[in-house]
């Protein structure tokens, strides 16, 4: 029999949700329930069969399913309840979650604190306004990954992949390993957007060409993709006339970015950051709604799962404190005068966007950011309040594909004043 009242309810059992549940339980929350819409726990890790997971956090180089199992086993040992094949439809504040599951029908769960760890969705053809006909054979890279690695079938024989992010390159290798031909990977930006390691091991090793500053001009085909027309783009990403090339293929994979899945957070009234697409969070991963926490790709798109787990642990610890009435501050308290963290030179976004009054009594905080443009020379990340430097960090380089973390240690935290603004910039050294 499922609990009708829990201390912490977690939506999603990917790396963020599992970590949040584990941390909440360890943090003293007696009853912790995870609701997962898939038939098993682990989220997208179950289809990421390649290795490279856990190097930072677990000091082991694991395949995705092994990394997931590490935390699934922990959750099981701690007695965390897991409701699979169930969908949270709506949540009311303070929290009553309405869910449906195949096995149990309609379920209502009351929760003192809620962690939303719903991850992200892939950008689809509609979101990049890809011209041409609308045949079968255009898939997102993650969808194809699920077909090949979980369901066990191949979505095509001859592929073109749009987007040089890690999922795109990893699928290029995976499809080649399964006997398909990957004609090329094309990238609209003038630089690789994924990790160099993946470029070497997924494209160079298998002699798959990468075409930078190129995009798909149109899709060609009747009932099935027959070809795509690629085209070079200029510095403003406008197609250069005369550079069109028709590339025969039966499948086009899109690896063109992820969008946080924020519907649940929106209906709960959480403020969103227009750049990340995820919720505005404070240093404890609390959103602008009291008791509502978020972690993982629903907040912003991470480069490494290790940092997703870390964010989940923080959200879970905070949620357990909140459930016990021990988390102070809270962004709804106007009197708390939060510190706003703003983007400065060459910074696309920062997380957390706010630090509440509680931040002054805690030891250290991490600020995560991504740059707008690559910097292939030594740089500083600087966090300043007015004219005062709070903290700075030296970088060997800064690339949009790799998240940057700056730690504000206790000395830096002592320099913070409530109500002020922090600006985060990346500047040449």
């Amino acid at each position: 029999m499922l609990p009708q009242v829990v201390d912490v309810l977690v939506v999603g059992s990917g790396p963020a949700g599992l970590a949040a549940a584990v941390a909440a339980k360890r943090g003293g929350a007696e009853r912790v329930l995870i609701v997962e819409r898939d038939r098993e726990a682990g989220g997208i890790l179950q289809q990421c069969i390649h290795n490279g997971f856990g190097v930072e956090l677990l000091k082991e180089d694991l395949p995705g399913p092994s990394y997931a199992q590490h935390f699934i086993d922990q959750a099981r040992r701690l007695g965390i309840e897991l409701l699979l094949d169930a969908m949270v439809l709506e949540v009311q504040v303070p929290f009553v979650a309405h869910a449906i599951s195949r096995g149990q029908g309609y379920i209502e769960v009351q929760a003192r604190a809620l962690v939303v760890a719903t991850g992200a969705r892939e950008r689809t053809r509609a979101q990049i306004r890809l011209p041409g006909t609308r045949p079968a054979g255009v898939y997102t890279a993650g969808m194809a990954q699920r077909f090949v690695n979980v369901e066990g079938f191949m979505p095509g024989k001859r592929f073109v992949i749009l987007g040089s992010g890690d999922i795109g390159m990893i699928m290029a290798r995976r499809l080649t390993f399964e006997g398909a031909t990957v004609d090329r990977v094309i990238e609209i930006m003038p630089y690789l957007t994924g990790l160099t390691r993946n470029y070497v091991q997924c494209l160079l090793d298998l002699e798959i060409p990468l075409h930078l500053s190129h995009t798909v001009g149109r899709v060609i085909g009747g009932s099935r993709v027959e070809a795509v027309e690629t085209v070079q783009v200029d510095a403003q990403r406008r197609p250069v006339p005369g550079t069109e090339e028709v590339v025969p293929c039966d499948t086009l994979l899109l690896s063109v970015g992820l969008l946080p899945e924020v519907e649940l957070l929106q209906t709960l009234g959480a403020a969103l950051d227009p750049i990340t697409g995820g919720p505005v969070v404070d240093q404890s991963m609390q959103t602008t709604v009291h008791g509502l926490f978020a972690a993982g790709n629903v907040v912003h798109i991470y480069d490494l799962v290790d940092w997703v787990t870390e964010a989940g642990l923080l959200a879970g610890t905070s949620a357990a404190l909140y459930a016990r009435g021990e988390l102070h501050g809270g962004l709804q308290h106007v009197a708390a005068r939060p510190i706003h963290v703003r983007v400065g030179n060459n910074v696309r976004y920062v997380v957390p966007q706010l630090l509440d009054a509680g931040c002054l009594s805690q030891g250290e905080h991490k600020i995560q950011l991504r740059v707008l443009h690559p910097v292939e020379e030594p740089a500083w990340v600087r966090v300043v309040a007015g004219n005062e430097q709070i903290v700075r960090k030296a970088l060997r380089y800064a690339r949009p594909g790799e998240m940057i973390t700056v730690v504000m240690d206790s000395k830096a935290v002592e320099r913070l004043r409530l109500g002020e603004e922090l600006t985060v910039s990346v500047l040449p050294r």
């Binding site: 069969i49 395949p63 399913p65 199992q69 369901e151 066990g152 160099t196 470029y199 060997r396």
Partner: protein
């Protein structure tokens, strides 16, 4: 006969571009490496390139049709496609446990191929 190769070092995320002059696997000259790990990387790439291999094998009687698997250690790069075809012929029976060998001493390499996760047997009447 000296040859030159361009190798991108993957030891760390910097990804140095190495220009290497070599003779039968012995490095004569190396440029572009920001640290000395680049030299070790170039040497192993020239003498005995290896990669971790991850793929899936078919499962009989499991809750999922496929089991993700990985090589216990980096596997010789020239034999990767032979390994993939050997694994494509394989079918394993559930239940399976994480770390369990599904192919021991793959192609005589001394390297085992291991299950990347637990995979329970399917129940007669699935408890959904």
């Amino acid at each position: 006969m000296q040859q030159s190769s361009n190798i991108i070092c993957t030891t760390c995320p910097v990804g140095c571009s190495l220009q290497v002059t070599h003779d039968v696997g012995q490095i004569c000259q190396i440029e572009g490496n920001a640290c000395k790990r680049g030299l070790d990387y170039a040497r192993s790439e020239l003498q005995d390139p290896r990669r971790m291999v991850t793929t899936t094998v078919r499962v009989r009687g499991g809750t999922q049709p496929l089991l993700p698997v990985h090589t216990a250690r980096p596997f010789p790069k020239p034999a990767i496609f032979a390994l993939l075809s050997a694994l494509r012929q394989l079918e394993v029976a559930a239940p399976l446990h994480i770390g369990q060998p599904v192919l021991a001493n793959a192609l005589g390499s001394g390297i085992d191929v291991l299950a990347s996760r637990d995979l329970p047997a399917r129940l007669e009447h699935p408890d959904t």
